[in-house]
């Protein structure tokens, strides 16, 4: 490029942009993209007039009209120029109604370009980054590393000067908050101040990069991109378990996993040869998307939606491209075709997951992720179980058994009464009935009693009853069994009807005596059968009901029983069933006798496979089946052998139980897994799942670089392609996000869009230099971040003069240190850290700290397991905010108030607003009031004795710097006022100090502590406190 023109970089105010040569990619292509590509771009289906302006061939072709849009070197004969400069609204481009407009300066710029030969090149971001030599140093300006040379070169051009380094308290607070998400402690500040060596700052940075808190801070930001949350997101929004993936991310950052490996493991860890458990856990990245299980949903539609989400997310995070546009049509601005979109889609279309998540905690595929302790215990128990199995095995094979009754005829099974209810209800039964105390027990001699110590009695004026349900050991009905109960009718007050009702899950099994005035009157069928007249009064009578007659076939299980009457006074006693008598000890010594018995009397606890063998006639059984039966019999029935096996069996069952409990406690997490038979992907017209067009295979858009030669045609290949050292986008997009994290705004402000519609980089050469540096360092993240924070650019003071503010309000040129509001999580974590409440533990399951009552109920689906918020208590209230349970359809309000994204879709850039709702959170949320009061305790305990000392302690704890005289006086006056206030109203202080669940230090004076709480509260609300300056 040789032409020179005044070019306004549209991200920057005109007056900071110097004269520089025209660059096609920077100065011309964005104008064409913004104003022309909607109709004359890559989208073939919607291209107007056959003209395409996104490549030079198309732009210079002779059109049907005979015109050429572009005649290089000759704007007068270029249709493009004629149309953009026309005053005729019918000819003018872009059309007046389109909402797009070229300024006169832009029209002039295009003319200059055409007349200079219309040089063409690709979009900058689609060419591999090249490292250009840093500019030379501006004499007298301080430089720490090459970053400063690039930044200062632009400052010099813009006529701005860098700021000197910030003071040490500011620096340590800035670096600590940026790298760990927590404020420095007073001790850390003192150490740093005391270290007067020139290496002090570097030592600080190294210490912070080694802190385990670093991994949490980096992971927290990554989880926005991963759209991590603890619920499924759609419809029921039930809980999901994927927090082990969060642990993986924290750990990966703390171990400084190279970014290429970080990429491969998350996108395709499952496809690596012999993947480790952790590599599989890493693939949770693409299981974080929202899913549904709404009744009525069509699976095919959701397979498509999930795959689209994964392409969009992957593409935003690694390519900085808005691929989603191409789901419906060729991309309007970038060269991504619809077909290429569905080729990417194909990578994510063949997973074993089901479209419907089943509202389950762990919709498959998932893996269990035991801790090292759990894994060790699991191994021990498995070994011990194998040993005891072997022991039992040996003993059984050595046991000599002969059936004493073998070959002899077996006695018929005797029947006898089995009493279910006599003096007390069966286990588990819930008494119920009419009146306040429905079960009235009475004793002899004042009352008739048939057996045992008591009977029940009921007097009523109409239909009345007492009953129970829910017996935990059901009464099992056998063939020809008879239900019975004893009744005594009061001769002075006889009823008109007595009725028995039986519950096997329903009450539709009844019998009555006397008048037809009880439940189910008028039916006279098995749901209410008449069995005769009223029994004789004044004596105990046994009522009998053949079970089959009231529709209770063999195998029915009763859990409830009702004693019902119409009017009169009735006593009831002993009730149960006439059934086959249990096996006696002698019979139990015979396998044949036991078999005979068990064939008739089913036992619910009998293992199903043993029952199955029993059902086979003895002479039809295979040898293995007979053996199986014998083994069961010896272990559990035969008295002699049972005694021998009791101890090892008990041991086995104890260990089995422990293992089962352990396995239940082992957390699991969602992962990716490829189907055996791939699912065929198609181009979908307008993105509609029903409109399948051309079939496509997994493939990358090769205009961004070819697939590496060895790369497989699956997600692993995709990941290998993304991490090619010369990939034009991955490194640029990644270093830009890191830049954004430490400088507030990316070098490319639109961190999510590096395409033609994205913003131009403020420092293109620096961006490329950083990208190449990052790749050549082996994608070393910690090393790269150290480079950023060691730069003199990062270390500048952040104060701003009106002149600089006017010249560069967004601080894109960095003539001063970056300064911005802290993220939601950091604001809360900082308060917790200052209060001393913060829990040190890293990782783990999500927790539910304070949240105003009743937030989930008004939105939650009744059947959802997250429709009721149950707050945690104790240490779980004070974990870092990244561990707060994230319910997508009603996220934590203190987080969203400070612009935390909703985690429904991938986000790589947070907004930073400033609203009254934020003020209300800091003013009134119990978490912040509690933090103030615990912080106040620390001030009183650790902050020295006199008021000024304490104020200094509090102030330095929060802001690292020492308060000036005026600040000190102001806080002192505030303290004295509140002290007086609380002295006259100690009850108010007590109320204030009751905020939150953490215990109060009762050794401290309430009024004083209240006043210090107010001082701490004020400090937590300072603008400076929620800002990292």
């Amino acid at each position: 490029m040789t032409v020179s023109a005044a070019v306004g970089l549209f991200a920057l105010p005109p007056d900071v942009c110097a004269e520089r040569p025209l660059d096609f990619s920077r100065d011309i292509l964005p104008l064409l993209s913004e104003n022309c590509f909607q109709c004359h771009g890559p989208d073939e289906a919607n291209r107007e007039a056959g003209l395409r302006l996104d490549d030079r061939g198309g732009a210079t072709t002779k059109l049907d009209s005979g015109e050429r849009a572009l005649v290089p070197g000759d704007s007068a004969n270029s249709g493009l120029y004629a149309r953009i400069s026309s005053t005729d609204p019918d000819l003018r481009m872009p059309p007046p109604g389109s909402g797009k407009k070229l300024s006169d300066a832009e029209v002039a710029r295009l003319k200059t370009w055409i007349d200079a030969g219309a040089t063409w090149s690709g979009h900058w971001a689609f060419e591999p980054p090249r490292r250009s030599p840093p500019p030379s140093q501006v004499s007298g300006w301080h430089v720490e590393n090459p970053i400063d040379l690039f930044i200062q070169d632009r400052l010099r051009e813009a006529g701005l000067q860098p700021e000197p380094a910030a003071d040490k308290p500011t620096l340590i607070r800035r670096a600590t908050l940026d790298l760990t998400g927590l404020p420095p402690t007073i001790d850390e500040v003192d150490d740093f101040l005391a270290d007067t060596s020139p290496l002090a700052y570097e030592r600080l940075v190294d210490r912070l990069l080694e802190s385990q808190r670093y991994g949490e801070q980096m992971a927290r930001i990554w989880l926005d991109a991963a759209r991590y949350a603890d619920t499924h997101g759609l419809h029921l929004d039930n809980e999901r378990s994927i927090w082990p993936y969060r642990n993986w991310v924290i750990d990966a950052f703390n171990r400084n996993m190279p970014f290429d490996q970080f990429t491969v493991e998350q996108l395709a860890g499952d496809l690596l040869p012999g993947p480790t458990l952790q590599q599989r856990v890493a693939t949770g990245f693409n299981r974080c998307n929202v899913t549904t299980s709404e009744g009525g949903s069509i699976a095919e539609e959701y397979y498509v939606r999930y795959a689209v989400d994964r392409v969009e997310t992957t593409s935003t995070v690694w390519l900085g491209l808005t691929a989603g546009c191409a789901a419906c049509h060729d991309h309007k601005f970038d060269p991504l075709t619809q077909k290429e979109f569905y080729q990417l889609f194909s990578y994510f279309f063949s997973l074993t997951e089901k479209a419907m998540d089943g509202n389950a905690l762990l919709p498959p595929p998932s893996v269990k992720v035991p801790s090292s302790l759990q894994a060790a215990r699991q191994r021990t128990l498995t070994g011990q179980l194998a040993e005891v199995e072997a022991e039992i095995e040996t003993a059984i094979s050595q046991w000599k058994y002969e059936d004493p009754l073998a070959g002899k005829p077996l006695d018929p099974l005797a029947k006898q009464d089995r009493v279910w209810f006599d003096d007390a209800l069966p286990p588990g039964a819930q008494p119920a009935g009419d009146g306040p105390d429905p079960w009235k027990f009475v004793t002899a001699p004042d009352h008739p009693v048939y057996s045992g110590a008591n009977a029940t009695v009921r007097t009523g004026n109409g239909l009345t009853q007492h009953y129970f349900t829910g017996a935990s050991e059901p009464l099992i009905v056998g063939a020809n069994d008879i239900l019975f109960a004893y009744v005594f009718l009061d001769p002075k007050d006889p009823p008109e009807t007595v009725q028995l009702q039986f519950n096997d899950g329903s009450w539709e099994h009844r019998a009555f005596w006397g008048a037809d005035k009880a439940h189910g009157a008028g039916r006279n069928n098995p749901s209410n059968l008449r069995l005769g007249d009223l029994p004789r009064v004044g004596e105990w009578v046994r009522l009998e009901v053949p079970a089959a007659a009231v529709n209770l076939p063999p195998g029915s299980k009763l859990n409830g029983w009702a004693f019902t009457q119409f009017k009169g006074t009735v006593h009831w006693d002993q009730a149960g069933i006439v059934t086959i008598a249990p096996l006696g000890p002698q019979q139990a010594e015979s396998l044949a006798a036991w078999e005979h018995y068990r064939k008739t009397v089913k036992h619910p606890a009998l293992p199903a496979d043993v029952q199955k063998v029993l059902d086979v006639e003895a002479d039809q059984r295979t040898a293995a089946q007979s053996d199986q039966l014998l083994r069961y019999y010896l272990q559990h029935v035969n008295p002699a052998s049972r005694a021998r096996f009791a101890e090892p069996l008990q041991r086995r069952s104890r260990w089995q139980q422990e293992l089962a409990d352990l396995e239940k406690a082992i957390p699991a997490t969602l992962v990716m897994e490829e189907r055996q038979q791939p699912r065929q992907a198609h181009v979908l017209e307008r993105g509609e799942y029903t409109l399948k067009r051309e079939a496509v295979e997994s493939r990358v858009p090769e205009w961004l670089g070819e697939l590496p030669a060895e790369a497989p045609a699956n997600r692993l290949g995709l990941a290998q392609w993304l991490t090619r050292p010369d990939h034009p986008l991955t490194a640029r997009v990644t270093v830009n996000r890191y830049w954004q994290q430490f400088f507030g705004t990316g070098l490319v402000r639109t961190a999510e869009d590096f395409g033609l519609q994205g913003e131009q980089p403020s420092h293109p050469e620096l961006l490329d230099w950083l990208a190449v540096e990052f790749v050549e360092s082996g994608w070393n993240v910690k090393r790269f971040l150290k480079l950023l924070v060691m730069s003199s650019t990062y270390r500048q003071a952040s104060r701003v003069t009106p002149e600089k503010l006017a010249a560069d309000p967004q601080n894109r040129l960095l003539a001063r240190g970056p300064r911005f509001r802290l993220d939601a999580e950091v604001i809360r974590d900082q308060a917790l850290a200052l209060s001393g409440l913060l829990v040190d533990e890293i990782g783990g399951k999500s927790v539910r700290p304070y949240q105003p009552a009743g937030l989930w109920k008004p939105v939650g689906f009744g059947g959802s397991n997250t429709s009721v918020f149950k707050q945690d208590s104790g240490a779980k209230l004070y974990r870092r905010s990244m561990y707060t349970f994230w319910k997508r359809t009603s996220p934590p309000p203190t987080m969203t108030a400070f612009d935390a994204p909703d985690r429904e879709t991938c986000q790589v850039r947070r907004a930073r607003t400033n609203t009254p709702l934020q003020a209300l959170v800091l003013m009134n949320d119990v978490q912040f009031i509690e933090a103030a009061r615990k912080f106040a305790e620390r001030v009183m305990t650790d902050g020295g004795q006199d008021v000024e000392q304490r104020i200094k302690f509090a102030f330095r704890s929060v802001l690292a710097r020492v308060p000036n005289r005026s600040e000190l006086d102001s806080l002192k006056a505030l303290y004295e006022d509140y002290r007086a206030e609380f002295a006259s109203d100690p009850e108010a202080a007590a109320k204030l100090l009751a905020a939150g669940e953490s215990p109060l230090d009762k050794t401290l004076d309430t009024g004083e502590l209240g006043a210090w709480t107010m001082v701490a509260h004020l400090l937590l609300n300072l603008s400076e406190t929620v800002t990292r300056g």
Partner: protein, 490 residues
């Protein structure tokens, strides 16, 4: 800079510099509510001008200043309330002809049914109002104001399940991530009140509890717009606005003292470092302090007349009921809130429809009519647009067992009824016609994008020009669709 590609990240700074002449207050309110009007003292802006919002909006003279949207979540049955199909009486328990369904997809809740037996409505319909609109006996009060309503019988959507459908009608997309209608209006038009948010959401109880199909924060979310445009839920229990009350033990006087000192220290810091965000934050605290007074005043209905309260019915005095929320919606409208959305759930009547719809109509009928009448009496119906309806309709065929007195209906996206009233809409009309089965649209279809385009139009907004640049693309509420339904405009 082009205001349409305004970025949330720099908003407060821009406001500060753009309006430095009016002082600190302007900068601050710009961040939540738009710039302060010089001279405005409390409540609704005196001259009706708005604060915040985009330059150049409204695009043309608006007919309505604000919307009250009564959202029936779960999808009420058009067949039993509005879309009268007398011929269906002869079709009881006969199969829906294949020629009507025409292979259209249906949900997997009924796609496995062997039959699709027709379930005619058991409710009586009669003509009401001067134009003789058919209204079911379920809605006696609403029938009384039918001359004020424009009833649209041909609203349609593509989504067939609740989550995608309600997300679609609220945000223009079936997938999460886009701003809701109220957020678009807050972004485009700003607020008419400096003490209240521009977009307020109210949740209604049914028989004292919640329940029914889920709602989602995204339905009043700001998507990729600045979070300050998201709807603020006004709650009926606890603090009406989250974290509004001072903690126990902290009197208003103590709060004031703390805020004064905070203000002083923040100002001092501003003098030192020059960051305009500090000034903005100072003003946000003042705003928060004012909200501590203005919000309780809003929810205190003790100054409403008995006559007004009676109009809304006996439930109006129970906070959180639909009746109470309708009254609150009117009070919010009076105070210039741009968009109030009242949600009521439990319309998802797959079974036992007759019983459940009676309950629901019993809850909403009187308050809906009262809201129309109340607005009218106050002269506010002219510039308030009231919208009623759900996310889709219900099928003519029965889901589950069909008897003469009982039936259920599955989801039906291809036509359903909504009504509009007030600002900019023709009163007393019925628009669109469906076939005999209320299955397909016969004439004048109104897609939900068309409906949303029309709502924006009534507020003076060209739906194609209210856009936000995100990920390189200019997004809008109506995606790339939507036609204003001119026929229903006054």
């Amino acid at each position: 800079m082009n205001p349409l590609r305004d970025s949330a990240l720099i908003e407060t700074r821009r406001h500060f510099f753009g309006r430095a002449a009016t002082g600190i207050g302007a900068a601050a309110l710009g961040s939540l509510l738009g710039a302060e009007l010089p001279g405005a003292t409390s409540g609704a802006a005196a001259n009706g001008a708005s604060m915040g919002g985009l330059a150049g909006l409204p695009h043309f003279a608006p007919r309505a200043k604000r919307i009250i949207y009564l959202f029936m979540s779960g999808a009420p049955s058009q067949l039993d309330m509005w879309d009268y199909k007398p011929k269906m009486q002869d079709w009881f328990d006969k199969d829906l002809p294949d020629s009507v369904r025409n292979g259209q997809r249906i949900t997997t809740m009924t796609s496995g049914q062997k039959r699709f037996p027709i379930a005619p409505s058991i409710f009586k319909f009669a003509r009401h109002g001067q134009h003789g609109a058919w209204v079911s006996e379920l809605l006696p009060h609403t029938a009384g104001v039918v001359d004020d309503l424009a009833v649209i019988k041909t609203v349609n959507t593509e989504a067939i399940n609740h989550d995608p459908a309600i997300t679609y009608i609220q945000t223009g997309s079936q997938l999460p991530g886009r701003p809701s209608t109220g957020a678009w209006l807050s972004y485009g038009l700003g607020s008419l009140n400096r003490n209240l948010p521009a977009f307020v959401v109210l949740h209604s109880t049914v028989n004292g509890g919640f329940g029914g199909q889920a709602l989602y924060a995204r339905l009043w979310g700001a998507g990729f717009l600045s979070t300050r445009h998201q709807g603020v839920s006004l709650r009926s229990t606890g603090d009406p606005v989250l974290y509004l009350s001072n903690p126990d033990g902290m009197s208003a006087k103590m709060r004031r003292r703390m805020l004064d000192e905070l203000d002083r220290l923040n100002r001092e810091r501003y003098a030192e470092v020059g960051d305009p965000e500090i000034q903005s934050r100072i003003a946000q605290y003042e705003m928060a302090y004012r909200m501590q007074t203005s919000v309780p005043e809003l929810t205190d209905i003790s100054n409403e007349t008995e006559r007004t309260l009676e109009m809304y019915g006996p439930e109006v005095k129970k906070p959180g009921t639909f009746a109470a929320n309708c009254l609150l919606a009117r009070r919010l409208a009076e105070r210039g809130v741009r968009f109030t959305q009242v949600f009521i759930r439990q319309w998802d009547q797959h079974g036992n429809l007759p019983k459940d719809i009676r309950r629901q109509c019993g809850i909403i009928d009187q308050p809906c009519a009262a809201l129309i009448n109340d607005l009218k009496q106050r002269g506010m119906l002219d510039d308030t647009l009231v919208v009623w309806g759900g996310e889709f309709g219900r099928t003519i065929y029965c889901q589950g067992g069909l008897t003469k007195t009982n039936y259920g209906r599955d989801h039906h996206p291809r036509c359903f009824t909504k009504w509009l009233a007030g600002g900019g809409v023709k009163p007393g009309m019925v628009y669109g016609e469906t076939d005999d089965f209320s299955y397909n649209v016969q004439e004048n279809p109104v897609h939900i994008h068309d409906l949303n385009a029309t709502l924006l139009h009534c507020l003076g907004v060209n739906h194609e020009q209210l856009t936000f640049r995100y990920q390189g693309r200019d997004f809008r509420l109506t995606d790339v669709h939507g036609q204003v339904v001119n026929d229903i405009l006054a």
